[in-house]
Amino acid sequence: MVMEYAWLIPVPLFIVFGINILLNKRLKNRTSGYLATGAVAFSFILSTLIFISSLLTGSKFHGSVTWFQLGEHVIKAGYLIDPVSSLMLLVVSLVSFLVFIYSLEFMEDDRSKPRFFGELALFSGSMTGLVLADNFLLMFIFWELVGLCSYLLIGFWMEKSEAASGSKKAFLITRIGDILMLSGIMLMFTQIGSFGFEETFNSFGQLSGDLQTITLLLLFGGAVGKSAQLPLQVWIPDAMVGPTPVSALIHAATMVKAGVYLLARISPLLSSSPLVTSIIAYFGILTALFGAYSALTQKDIKEILAYSTISHIGFMVFAIGVMGYSASLFHLFNHSAFKALLFLAAGVVITETGKHDITKMGNFWKRGKLVPIATLIGCLSLAGIPPLGGWFSKEMILTATMQGGNYILVSLFILASFLSPIYIFRWYSLIFSTNRRKKVGDKSSGYLMVLPIVALATIAGLAGLFNSSFNEWMPWSLHHGSHAILAIGSTLVVLTGFTLAILIYHLKLIDINRIKENTLFEILHKFSFNALYIDDSYTKLGFKAFSFSILASKFDDKYVDGVINAFGAFGRKVSSKSKSFDDIGIDGVVNGVADSIKFSSSLARKIQTGLVRDYSLWILIGTITILIILKISGG
Amino acid sequence: MNLVELFNYIRSDPLLWGIIAATVFLVYVFSIGGLSIWIERKWAGLLQSRLGPTRVGPFGILQFVADLIKLVSKEDFVPPDGDKKVFKLAPIVLVSTLIAAGSIIPFSPSLIGSNVNVGILFLIAMFSISPIAVFMAGWGSNNKFSLLGALRNIGQMLSFEIPLSLSIVAVVVMVGSLRIKEIVQAQDQIWFFALQPLGFVVFLLAIHAEAGRTPFDMQESEQELMGGWNVEYSGMRFGLTMVGEYIHLILGSMLVVLLYFGGWKSFGFLPPVIWFIIKTNIALVILMWSRWAIPRFRIDQIIDIGWKYLLPLSILNLLITGALVSMGWFSWI
């Protein structure tokens, strides 16, 4: 059985990480890349074998060993192979493999290549570990490792200040979610006494309803942080300062998918709580709308893709919220393919032009047809144009939504999927369209960068064929096809969006500047461009309002000063009547107060010498005092 | 109270027994120490194609007695500007801690001063005090050469104590006891130098450096420090420092025998004590050999050997031993 060896998947990656980090400078740049690629190739082959065997036999495997003992609780560590995890393994290792190959060329000139590949290997390794884990604790450890790696990799070019701050932001914001998740896990552990998935699923029903809701919401909080859902999505756009392969990995395979995977893992728990699932659904669809809306007007080639990721992860979370687990995972699969593809293509564009601003690009179609066509396939799949994978997964999500029967969600979903073709074809046209006469760079990219893109395009193009077999294979079945009219309608909506985007951006039949002159659209544009000002308001609220000194100084300015001024005015009035009284009385009191404060503070200041020695003296005196008080009070 | 009762009474009191054991060890060490000075000189002569001492007694064997008389009759000089108390105390501290360390050495299954549970740990602890004594000597002398020698000694001791302890720990891990007696008894079938070749090499080098013998004798290199930390000593105090060094060396060779060459384990025809003494003396001669065979290292080379080679090697050895023990390879011990 190949499944028994599943634990080997992350091992070579960790070893490569160790080698690359320990031998950092002694390793030849080239060697480090080949080592990492070899390790990930091994993981990929093993994952593929496991995937195939899981697909053919449909069996599960669960291996575990005793990890440690904590009081009477025996904590086990192990790995769990079922359709969900084997699919995720395949996705992670496939995308990692392609991204590693791509990075071999993309990072060719970088000095600290060993560090890059080491961290990249750790990233993929921890993600596969996260997928393999059979209990919450192990999963959380890998979850944190994934967070750490994203921090390291986003800040890979740490000489740049925005890279440093972006990585810090990503780390800190995902930490919020992680704390929520950890408290959820701990809450569950205190109630159930086990971290294992199976034990938890078996005994979760015994908890009280409120406790169930709280636990699930806390776990969902973890997913929100990791998967960049509203309101913790602000780190994703800033994370774009990392190297492009890292962005591809974060968005397609590792970081943000972890949250969705967590939700899919705990799906047996979610099914029992309609309140939580509806919360998840609303969060997901709002995030999807937000991401799509914000992606409409961005200028950075990678930020558009980032917002698009937010939107699509929103779709996946939404699908989980409406119990369409297999739809969610199928969308995850498709998204991994096309988003990795788009990021890698963006990397090609960035290397060749050296620019990030898409409004200054264009005419890229001229540069050889392979990359543009592959990218086109990715865009079509993202937009949800039939018969590509994206369409099928969106239809599956729609079917699941319809089974829930909530028409608000349905309409929001259709609105969100109307927006995706618009932004993605804006992106595509601005870069590739031959109607824009822009100069393109003279650097060209080699086959190591093109091949992964082509491979991903093939996968994205063919993914749709497997939709029904996928649905059957997954543990949750989804009934198909009872909403043909709606399916056709939604497809028409998507096609409308597609046409609109083509008309505006490619054929330029509609002048975008004319639309912008409209005040309503201008406001919408502003809001979209600044991502609803969420990030800015966090900055303002989070970093200013909570700073006590600023609050205090405001209070000082407004109230204390006001009171003092009032006193002053009063004093002036009195003094105009009786100057002598003022000199002796009011001034005397004021000076007296000031002097007495000065005097007492000068006494108090003597204690603050900054010498530990003196503080220990005060500790001693305090101890003596306490002991004397105890003695007197008869203790 | 007859003699047996007296013996049993003494035996039952750990303190008294320990004192007696230490005294016995002292006597043994003084005699063997004197003898080993003679051995060393003869051995050196042999290695350098000369005769060595010949005048006093047959083959000059009483040379050390003559030296002793000379030392005792010399003036007991104390440097006037030095720290007199510290200066006077230093040799006593040095010798007494080493004698105390010697009190736990088992000469035979029954002839043990004190078979304490912490055994070899106690020995290492006592070894670790000797740098303090050396520092006291160097500081008290108020002589920059003494002080430099003392500092070198401390640096050397600190760097070699860790590999020394770690290589001992590997043996302890194998045996599962710190008692030296049990370590020796565990070598019934096979002596440990065969099971712990790496540990043995590390131990041998480290004990060499601990005892401050050439090629690791930077602390008293005559050419640059005029004799090192004990340069200001004369008379019997100098004798004591020399005795201290020789006890260190003898303890080292005893440890080599006890840990790696089966202690008192014999081939039959002689009592275990004699075997132990014979083995110790062979080890002693081998340790002395290097003094005449290998040139002296520089101090930085010595420190390098300690930290960069012996320490990793001893850790590696410990890891390997631990792995093998946990796999049950040495369960027969």
Partner: protein, 97 residues
């Protein structure tokens, strides 16, 4: 053995150490005083671990910690000496220099 004389020893060591900490001005001497206090704590931990060995286990941890503390403390003192030549804790009241 009666607990009292262990108590007396440890109290004595604590008091001596405290006296040293609050009156001495040489950082190494203050470190020595701190070591005395730690030793006093250890005496009690060891002497009163009569039912089980937890006290002795903790004492061994304390020994490890104090070794680490001395290591860092002496490094700081040495740095101080290099920077100021004249080591007096009364002069070292800036958090950063």
């Amino acid at each position: 053995m009666i607990a009292f004389h262990f108590l007396i020893t440890s109290i004595g060591l604590v008091l001596i150490g405290l006296y040293g900490v609050i009156t001495l001005r040489h950082p190494i001497k203050i470190l020595m005083s701190i070591e005395l206090i730690l030793n006093a704590a250890n005496i009690n931990l060891v002497a009163f671990s009569t039912e089980n060995l937890i006290g002795q286990g903790f004492a061994s941890l304390v020994i490890a910690i104090s070794a680490a503390e001395v290591c860092v403390g002496l490094a700081i003192v040495y740095n101080l000496y290099r920077l100021k030549k004249d080591i007096d804790v009364m002069e070292v009241n800036a958090l950063k220099w």
